[in-house]
């Protein structure tokens, strides 16, 4: 067994505790862990195969930590990503501000990265409408403006989670088909050229 070859790099971004790890956990392991919340330290990588039509695409998912402490490092996690799932918590409006920050960062630094805006914890927002702090249509407008996809998911119930990742894989697979000869993916093990970090902070 050697390390799995990864076709597409997918990065999870968003303020801390919005539910990035829970989303990956639900998608990859089909479960929702209850119990005390554990911040991600740095980032965690997991590879997952997904069927698109009759093809198999391997997503290399980077679940990053939302803490500001790692912000200066964030580029190593999203550099070369083909898709970014930018998460915000439907019950926390400040998390949407933070999502906008990540969108800007990606637009500046990763023009080939497709953006998926993901409102999390939809089960909470549905159970009690009054706690919703981020309006669906506001986000949809923003998504149209930046050319992003838009989902609302619940990692607790699993609602819309598979659909989100399926869409990511399909988009990748059709764009990969356009961009390169069939069968060649992006080998993330490859060394990239070094880059100048400060470019994305000006």
């Amino acid at each position: 067994m050697t390390a799995m070859r990864v076709d597409a790099k997918v990065v999870m971004l968003g303020k801390e505790s919005v539910g990035k790890t829970s989303l990956v956990e639900r998608y990859v392991h089909r479960r929702f862990l209850v119990g005390p919340y554990q911040n991600t330290i740095g980032a965690a990588f997991v590879a997952k195969q997904i069927h698109v039509g009759d093809k198999v695409v391997t997503l290399g998912i980077w679940d990053t930590a939302g803490s500001e402490r790692y912000e200066a490092m964030s580029r190593i996690y999203y550099r070369g990503a083909r898709a970014a799932i930018v998460c915000y918590d439907l019950t926390d409006s400040s998390s949407f501000q933070r999502a906008k920050f990540w969108v800007k960062e990606l637009q500046n630094c990763e023009e080939h990265c497709k953006i998926y805006l993901c409102g999390t914890k939809s089960d909470l927002a549905e159970a009690d409408r009054s706690i919703r702090q981020v309006d669906y249509h506001d986000v949809q407008d923003f998504a149209d403006e930046i050319g992003a996809q838009h989902f609302e998911t619940s990692s607790k119930t699993g609602n819309n989670v598979d659909e989100l990742f399926q869409k990511v894989a399909e988009d990748f697979s059709s764009s990969a088909f356009e961009l390169m000869p069939e069968g060649t993916g992006v080998d993330l093990g490859q060394k990239k050229d070094s880059y100048i970090y400060s470019c994305c902070h000006n």
């Binding site: 392991h29 919340y37 911040n39 740095g42 965690a44 500001e68 490092m73 996690y77 918590d89 060394k191």
Partner: protein, 521 residues
């Protein structure tokens, strides 16, 4: 309670020492355990894995100026953004306190005006030089901002007179101050620990914070803005410091500046070590395999050694968070005893998702994740192919041993540290010490013995102390430190003869209990 104290070295009484020959079979047969560093049971065959902390004094001495040369330095450290760039985030962090960072079992909600809060045995506070709260062990930082303001005022008041405040003693408690610019750490303790020990614990907390941020970044943020709220950068790491403080109360390793190993047949350990050694890549500096809080093996780059304090910080990082259980972690970490200025990058993963075996690969290159991931797969593959895997699984089933194996009836527990290897061994805690309170009480006793052996001006070579609940004996030579706990029925002569028997037993078992052949790549 009687304290019987010897100031004379024991070396002379015990006569001849083991000669320099260090072949393994001779070591095992040698009748007298070596009293000289390098010949004691558990001493490694070659150079030590750890940076040599010869003494407690090394540890408490301020060594910031003498950090070793490193290759892990990164260039982006100066790039912490200035305040203007962060206006939005600032607002977010202010109102996020309600929703996040209430990690696990933290007693954060505790009312700081309550009796329970006051009654905690040991408080730890961290504040900035502007008096802003950064961390409190109990209660919330917000509720304590005026208290911390007063602490800072006190520090500044004394410093204005060109003095330094170190500690205050009051009615049944002491307050200890540690000034590590740009931070101020304050401990308030009701325990019997000395100022020095409390200061050392604060130093650990300081290094915990540095390991997350680097000193460079820490200095940088405060240079830009004196009253910066550091909790923004530390958000989500409180449980690391909480856990570290728990370890300081319980884990003899942190007290002794040493690490303990998973008992494992030396042949199996050698196979594991060479699997780690074979899976190398250019950027790799340390490969560490641990089982729970025990070391299985550590392989390091030639000429580099790891400070036990840095290793404890790594253990604490892995041990306090379940987030490495799934997938592969990739995180920046500063090893402050190696270098306070730069980040290493650690690849952290469990060999199997349900197992206790955690592999930490420490690299200098933050771009090297996939190479390290490949190393991990090679290690797993190689271990699976060998019988060592089976041996490892069996060792994991009994990661400790009962003191009865030593067959000394009065002996309840002991801690033995081989100085030259920086490794210690200790049996599992026997029945009377299994509750948290009793475990901590025993640790307090060991701490007391330790402080007698390491007294800055009048260090003792050995100490025997009778108590109502147990008798204690401690002995330090240039080769080892030994702490023993006997039932209260024993006598001093029983204790003395037990020591010889125990040392022989450790010598006999040393291949299993220690890492005698540390490897490098």
């Amino acid at each position: 309670m009687a304290a019987d104290v010897h100031n004379k070295a024991w070396e002379s009484q015990n006569g001849s020492l083991v000669p320099g020959a260090r072949l393994r079979h001779e070591r095992s047969d040698s009748p007298t355990p070596g009293l000289v560093e390098g010949t004691e049971p558990g001493a490694g065959q070659e150079s030590a894995m750890f940076v040599h902390a010869r003494s407690f004094e090394d540890l408490t001495a301020d060594s910031d100026g003498q950090a070793e040369v490193n290759s892990g330095k990164e260039s982006d450290l100066g790039q912490v953004k200035d305040e203007e760039g962060r206006v939005v985030q600032h607002i977010e962090t202010e109102d996020q306190q309600t929703g996040t960072s209430q990690g696990g079992a933290r007693a954060k909600e505790e009312d700081v005006t309550s009796e329970e809060w006051r009654a905690h045995k040991k408080h730890v506070f961290v504040l900035s030089e502007a008096g802003k709260p950064i961390y409190t062990r109990y209660g919330t930082e917000e509720a304590l901002s005026s208290t911390m303001g007063v602490m800072m005022a006190l520090v500044s008041f004394v410093e204005a007179e060109k003095n330094i405040i170190r500690s205050i003693q009051g009615d049944g408690y002491r307050v200890v101050f540690l000034r590590k610019s740009p931070l101020v750490l304050v401990g308030v303790s009701r325990t019997s620990q000395s100022d020095r020990e409390l200061t050392r614990e604060l130093l650990y907390v300081y290094y915990q914070i540095v390991s997350l941020l680097t000193l460079t970044q820490l200095n940088h943020v405060f240079q830009h803005k004196q009253n910066y709220d550091l909790r923004r950068l530390l958000a989500g790491s409180e449980h690391l410091t909480d856990n570290l403080l728990r370890l300081l109360d319980r884990d003899p390793g942190l007290l002794l500046s040493a690490v303990t190993c998973l008992p494992l047949a030396s042949s199996a350990r050698d196979v594991v070590s060479s699997a780690l050694q074979a899976a190398k890549t250019k950027s790799l500096v340390f490969s560490i395999l641990m089982a729970g809080s025990r070391l299985v093996t550590l392989v390091r780059k030639k000429d580099q050694s790891l400070h036990h304090m840095d290793l404890h910080l790594l253990f604490n990082l892995v041990g306090s968070s379940s987030s490495f259980r799934e997938g592969e972690g990739w995180t920046p970490i500063c090893l402050p005893k190696f270098n306070t200025a730069g980040f290493f990058h650690a690849h952290i993963s469990y060999l199997q998702s349900a197992s206790d075996l955690c592999l930490i690969l420490v690299s200098t290159d933050r771009e090297d994740f996939f190479n390290l991931s490949e190393c991990k797969h090679r290690i797993v593959e190689r271990l699976r192919r060998r019988s060592a895997w089976q041996a490892l699984q069996e060792a994991l089933r009994c990661p400790s041993y009962p003191v009865s194996q030593v067959a000394i009836p009065e002996l309840r527990h002991f801690v033995y540290k081989s100085k030259s290897s920086g490794l210690y061994t200790s049996p599992e805690l026997p029945v009377p010490y299994q509750t948290d309170e009793e475990q901590e009480r025993l640790m307090v006793l060991y701490q007391y013995l330790h402080s007698c052996l390491h007294h800055p001006t009048r260090p003792l070579c050995s100490i025997y102390r009778c108590g109502e609940t147990e008798n204690l004996f401690a002995w330090v030579t240039s080769g080892f430190e030994l702490y023993l706990c006997f039932s209260p029925l024993g006598t001093k002569s029983v204790a003395v003869s037990a020591v010889n028997k125990l040392l022989k037993w450790i010598r006999k078992e040393e291949e299993r209990l220690f890492i005698l052949n540390p490897l490098t790549y």
